[in-house]
Amino acid sequence: MSKVPIRLSVNGEAHDLLVEPRKLLSDTLREDLHLTGTHIGCEHGVCGACTVWVDGRPARACLLFAVQIEGHEVTTIEAIAAEGRLSPFQQAMHEEHGLQCGFCTPGIVMTCEAWLREEPTIEETEIRELLSGNLCRCTGYQNIVRAVLKAARRARGNAA
C-alpha cells in the first residue's frame, strides 16, 4: 500500500512522516515517533490503554488513523511529566497505590488529567463513571478512585 506524507503535531512538535493511510495513530506514535508510553490493549476501542488527547480531548489512538490527525494537536503521556516532575494526579496515583502492572496507567492518566483540568467534582460515583472507559485488571479500581479524589480535592483547594 502506498504511503502518503503527513505532518503530525505531537506534544508541541511537528513531524513530517510517510505513512500508509491505514496506519493507526497508536502504531504511528509508537513505531514512527518512538512514543511507546501509549499502550495498545485491545485495538477495538474498549480498554482505554491507548488514550491520548486530540486537541486536548481524550481519544482512543487505536480508533484513529494517523492521516486523520493532520491539523490537530496530539498530546501523549510523555508530555505530562515532561520536566521529570509528576503532575498532581500522577503524584496522587503514586501515593494511593493506584497502579500495579502499570500497563493501563498511561491511559488512565490521560483520561483523568483531562477531566481534572476542567472542573472536577469530588463525587465518587461521577469519578467511577469517568474511569469506566479504562479497564484495569490489577487494582480493583479503589485506589485509582482515591487518587482521582485526592487530586480533585487538591485542585479545588488550589482554585478556592
Binding site: 485491545c42 497502579l99 479504562n134 480493583g140
Partner: protein, 788 residues
C-alpha cells in the same frame, strides 16, 4: 520479624515513576533493528481435519519473508510431552503446530513472517487451507457422551484424567447422618485478560549460536529450560529477558506454541522475529480457565454438625494440555474441607478434553473450592433452618485444634479462620442484618448477606510437587551483593507483573542489612543475572522469594559483622548489629554507634582484603535458596451485602468487608493492593465473566465489547481488616497471599445472592450470576407472585 526496620512499612513503590510517565518498558516497546513480524493463521473450526495447506499466494505477497506451517516448524522443534507419572492421568503430546487436524477455533496452523505487522496480516488472508470439518465436543457432558468424537486421537476417550480418594469411612458416616444435603456449583469459562496481550521477540546470534528471547513471562528460568529443550539447544545457549509485564494472572507461565514458533523462525531466518497477538486472539486462543462444576454431598446431623463430605468435581480442560490436566482440579479437591474439622471425606475428580482453547491456571485456580464448601455450609443452614454462622462455629477449627492434619494430609497451622470470621461479622453487624433485610423488604428492596471463610493454599514447596507427581520444585533462589561503594544489588528468580517486588524486596534486604531500602536495587527477569528460581505463581513471591532474599541478606550481614568485629578488635561479633547504615555495639545494655559504616566495611571487603579476619574471602555477597514446607496457608473471611433487583436481575454490592491473616506483610500498601485486585477479579467471575461457546465450539463473545469484565462502576470499595499473625514456619513470618481474594469473592457473592434469592425459593448454582441468568431463575417465582 515484625518491628525490624522497614518490613511492613507502606513504602511507596520504586516502580511507579516509570509506569506513570509512560517510560515503562514492555515487550512491544523494545526496539530491534531489522525485526520481522509474525502473524498466525488460525482455524475457524472447532474440530477439523487439515486436508491441504497451500502457501503459494501468501508467500508471494508484499513484504513477506516466509510462510510456514507444522511441516516446517515441527522439524525445528520438539513436541511438548506432558506425561507426569500420575495415576489416572493420560500422557499427552502436542506438536508445535498441527499437521493432521485442528482441535479448537483459534488453533494456530500457519505462521506468516513479513516486514511489518500490517503486511503479515494481509498475507495471512492469502493462506489457503482446506479443512474437513469434524463433529466437535464443546462441553464436559458432550465430551464424555458415548461415541463422542475424540479431541486427542491418541487417547482412549476424552476423559484425560480421573482420580478418586477416600479418607476415613464416609460411607458409614453417611449411613449415620440425620440428613444428606447435596449442593451443586458451577463456574463458566473465563480468561485472565491481562491488559497486555501475549508476545515475544526472538533474536538469534548466528555467530555465537545464542538465542536472546524477550518474553513477558512469570517464570523466566523454567521457561528457558522448556524453550531450550524444545529448540534442541543447551540452556547455556538461551537467555530469557523479561521486560515489564502488563499483567499475567497465570496466563504468562507456559511456553505457548506461537512463542516457540517465533523463536524457531528467528533461528531459521537468522533475523529477529517478533509477535504480539491482538486482543481477539488473546480472548480466543491464549489460555482459558475455570469452567468447572461440582456436586458436594454432606452428611449432617440435625444440629448442623458435618460428619462427612463426598465431592464430585468435573472440569472442562479444553483441547490441549499445557499443564497436567489434573493440576488445577487436584488442589480444589485437596483443600476442600477448608477451615472445618471433617475427617471423613471422599472425592472423584474428572477432567475432560473438549474442542475449546486449552485451560491454564488463572489467579486462584482452586477458587471454586471456597464457594463449594461455604455454599454447602449455607445450604445446610437453609435446609436445617439454622443460622449459617452457627453452622460454621459448630464445625470450624479453633486455635486449640492446631496444628491439624486434614483428611487429605495437609497440615494446617498458624491460621485464624475463627478469629477472622468473628471479627468480620461483628464489623458488618451480622446480628442486625435480618432486621435490616426485613425492613428493606418492606420498601420492596431485596438484600442478601453472604460470608466466605477462606483458607488459601500458597507457596507450594518441593514436597508438594513430589507428592503430586508433577516435575518441578517449589523452592526459590536469591542473591544479595554489596558492591564496594556500599550500593546493594539483589536478585531472585521470580518475575513481577505488578506485585511491586522492586519495593517490597528492597525492604526485606534492607531490613537484613540495617540500611535504607532506597540503597537496594532488585534485578529480576534476566536468566543470565537472576539465580535459577521457579518464578511467580501460586502466591509464592513474598513467602518463597522474600525468604530466600531474607536468608541471603542475613548471610551478608553476618559477614559484615565479622569484619566489623575484626576492625574493632573484638573477639566475636555477638555484641554488634547493623542499623541505620552503620555498625552498632551493645554497651551496658544499650546500643551505641561505632565509627564503622556499612559502606566502609564494603570497601574493606573488596579493596583491603588483608584486613579481613583469617579465613574470610574478599567480597561481600551471598546466594541462598529456600524450600518452603509442602504447603503454606493464609486465611481470611469475606462478608458482602448485596441488593438484588428482581425486575432486572442486577446485583449491586452494598458493602464488602475482608478480615485477613496473611502473616507478616512486607509492605502493607502492596498487600492491600493485592487484596483489592484479587477480590475484584473474583467479583468479575462471580457476576460477569463467561466465554460463551455454542454447541459447535464457536466462541460467540470474543471481543472486549462482548466479554464483560468489571469496570470502576461494578467494583465496590473494600473494607480491609488486617489481622495478621506470623507464620512460625517461614523465616520472614509470611504466609503468602494474593489469590485468596478471588476465593473469598466467589463464595461471598455466591452466598449473598442466594441469601437474597431464598425469598423467592430459588437457588443460583452457576456463576456468573449475570442479570440474564438471575432473571431466568426469577421469572417463574415472580409470575406466580403476580398471580397472587
Amino acid at each position: 520479624m515484625n518491628g525490624e526496620g522497614p518490613i511492613g512499612k507502606r513504602l511507596l513503590r520504586k516502580e511507579d515513576f516509570r509506569f506513570l510517565t509512560g517510560s515503562g518498558r514492555y515487550l512491544d516497546d523494545i526496539e530491534a533493528p531489522r525485526a520481522l513480524h509474525a502473524a498466525f493463521v488460525r482455524s475457524p473450526y472447532a474440530h477439523a481435519r487439515l486436508r491441504h495447506i497451500d502457501l503459494t499466494r501468501a508467500r508471494g505477497a508484499p513484504g513477506v519473508v516466509t510462510v510456514v506451517g507444522g511441516a516446517e516448524v515441527n522439524q525445528w522443534t520438539a513436541p511438548l510431552r506432558m506425561a507426569p507419572p500420575i495415576e489416572g492421568l493420560h500422557p499427552v503430546e502436542v506438536a508445535t503446530l498441527p499437521t493432521d487436524k485442528v482441535r479448537f477455533q483459534g488453533d494456530p496452523v500457519v505462521c506468516v513472517v513479513a516486514t511489518d505487522r500490517y503486511l503479515a496480516e494481509d498475507a495471512a488472508e492469502l493462506v489457503d487451507i482446506e479443512y474437513e470439518p469434524l463433529p466437535a465436543v464443546a462441553s464436559f457432558d458432550a465430551a464424555l457422551a458415548p461415541g463422542a468424537p475424540l479431541v486427542d486421537d491418541a487417547l482412549p476417550s476424552n476423559l484425560v484424567s480421573h482420580q478418586t480418594f477416600t479418607a476415613g469411612d464416609p460411607a458409614r458416616r453417611f449411613a449415620q447422618a440425620d440428613r444428606v444435603i447435596e449442593a451443586v456449583f458451577g463456574q463458566r469459562r473465563q480468561t485472565h485478560l491481562p491488559i497486555e496481550t501475549r508476545g515475544a521477540l526472538a533474536i538469534w546470534d548466528e555467530g555465537r549460536q545464542h538465542l536472546t528471547y524477550h518474553n513477558p513471562n512469570q517464570v523466566p528460568h523454567p521457561l528457558r529450560s522448556t524453550l531450550a529443550a524444545r529448540l534442541r539447544l543447551s540452556e547455556s545457549q538461551v537467555t530469557v529477558i523479561v521486560p515489564d509485564i502488563g499483567g499475567g494472572f497465570g496466563q504468562k507461565i507456559a511456553l505457548y506454541r506461537e512463542e516457540l514458533t517465533v523463536a524457531a523462525l528467528a533461528r531459521h531466518l537468522k533475523r529477529p522475529v517478533r509477535w504480539r497477538e491482538d486482543r481477539l486472539e488473546n480472548l480466543l486462543a491464549s489460555s482459558h480457565a475455570r469452567e468447572d462444576a461440582a456436586r458436594l454431598r454432606a452428611a449432617v446431623t440435625n444440629t448442623g454438625t458435618v460428619l462427612a463430605l463426598d465431592l464430585a468435581l468435573m472440569e472442562d480442560f479444553g483441547a490441549y494440555c499445557f499443564y497436567p490436566a489434573n493440576y488445577l482440579a487436584r488442589v480444589v479437591a485437596m483443600i476442600l474441607t477448608g477451615a472445618y474439622n471433617i475427617r471423613d471425606y471422599s472425592f472423584d475428580v474428572q477432567v475432560a478434553l473438549t474442542n475449546k482453547c486449552g485451560n491454564g491456571p488463572m489467579r486462584a485456580p482452586m477458587a471454586i473450592t471456597s464457594w463449594i464448601i461455604e455454599g454447602t455450609i449455607d445450604k445446610i443452614a437453609r435446609e436445617l433452618d439454622l443460622d449459617p454462622v452457627e453452622v460454621r462455629r459448630r464445625n470450624m477449627l479453633r486455635a486449640s485444634d492446631l496444628p491439624y492434619v486434614t483428611a487429605t494430609e495437609q497440615r494446617l497451622e498458624d491460621i485464624t479462620p475463627y478469629e477472622t470470621m468473628e471479627r468480620a461479622i461483628e464489623e458488618v453487624d451480622y446480628a442486625g442484618f435480618k432486621r435490616r433485610q426485613a425492613a428493606a423488604r418492606q420498601e420492596g428492596r431485596h438484600l442478601g448477606l453472604g460470608l466466605c471463610v477462606v483458607v488459601e493454599s500458597t507457596t507450594y514447596g518441593s514436597a508438594f510437587y513430589k507428592a503430586a507427581g508433577i516435575p518441578g520444585s517449589g523452592h526459590e533462589a536469591a542473591w544479595v551483593k554489596v558492591e564496594p561503594s556500599g550500593a546493594v544489588n539483589a536478585s531472585v528468580g521470580l518475575m513481577a507483573s505488578g506485585q511491586g517486588y522492586e519495593t517490597a524486596f528492597a525492604q526485606v534486604v534492607a531490613a537484613g542489612l540495617g540500611i535504607d531500602p532506597a540503597q537496594v536495587r532488585l534485578h529480576i527477569g534476566n536468566t543470565d543475572v537472576a539465580p535459577y528460581g521457579m518464578g511467580s505463581r501460586g502466591a509464592r513471591g513474598g513467602t518463597a522469594g522474600g525468604s530466600a532474599l531474607h536468608l541471603a541478606a542475613r548471610d551478608v550481614a553476618d559477614k559484615v559483622l565479622k569484619i566489623a568485629a575484626q576492625l574493632l578488635n573484638l573477639n566475636t561479633p555477638d555484641q554488634l548489629r547493623l542499623a541505620g547504615g552503620a555498625v552498632e555495639r551493645l554497651v551496658g545494655g544499650a546500643w551505641e554507634p561505632t565509627e564503622l559504616t556499612f559502606g566502609a566495611i564494603a570497601r574493606t571487603a573488596y579493596l583491603d582484603p588483608l584486613r579481613l579476619p583469617a579465613g574470610l574471602e574478599p567480597g561481600l555477597e551471598a546466594h541462598r535458596a529456600y524450600d518452603p514446607p509442602p504447603m503454606t496457608f493464609s486465611n481470611a473471611t469475606h462478608v458482602c451485602e448485596v441488593e438484588l433487583a428482581p425486575a432486572t436481575g442486577v446485583v449491586h454490592i452494598l458493602r464488602y468487608v475482608i478480615a485477613e491473616d496473611c502473616g507478616t506483610v512486607l509492605n502493607e500498601m502492596i498487600v492491600e493492593g493485592q487484596q483489592h485486585g484479587a477480590t475484584a477479579l473474583g467479583i468479575g467471575g462471580a457476576l460477569y465473566e463467561a466465554l460463551d461457546y455454542d454447541a459447535d465450539g464457536q466462541l460467540r463473545n470474543g471481543t472486549l465489547a462482548d466479554y464483560l469484565v468489571p469496570t470502576a462502576c461494578e467494583i465496590p470499595n473494600f473494607e480491609i481488616i488486617a489481622m495478621h499473625t506470623p507464620n512460625r514456619r517461614n523465616p520472614t513470618g509470611s504466609k503468602g497471599m494474593a489469590e485468596g481474594g478471588v476465593m473469598g469473592a466467589i463464595g461471598a457473592i455466591g452466598n449473598a445472592v442466594n441469601n437474597a434469592l431464598a425469598a423467592f425459593g430459588v437457588e443460583a448454582t452457576q456463576q456468573p450470576f449475570s442479570p440474564e441468568y438471575l432473571r431466568t431463575l426469577l421469572r417463574g417465582p415472580l409470575l406466580s407472585l403476580s398471580r397472587i
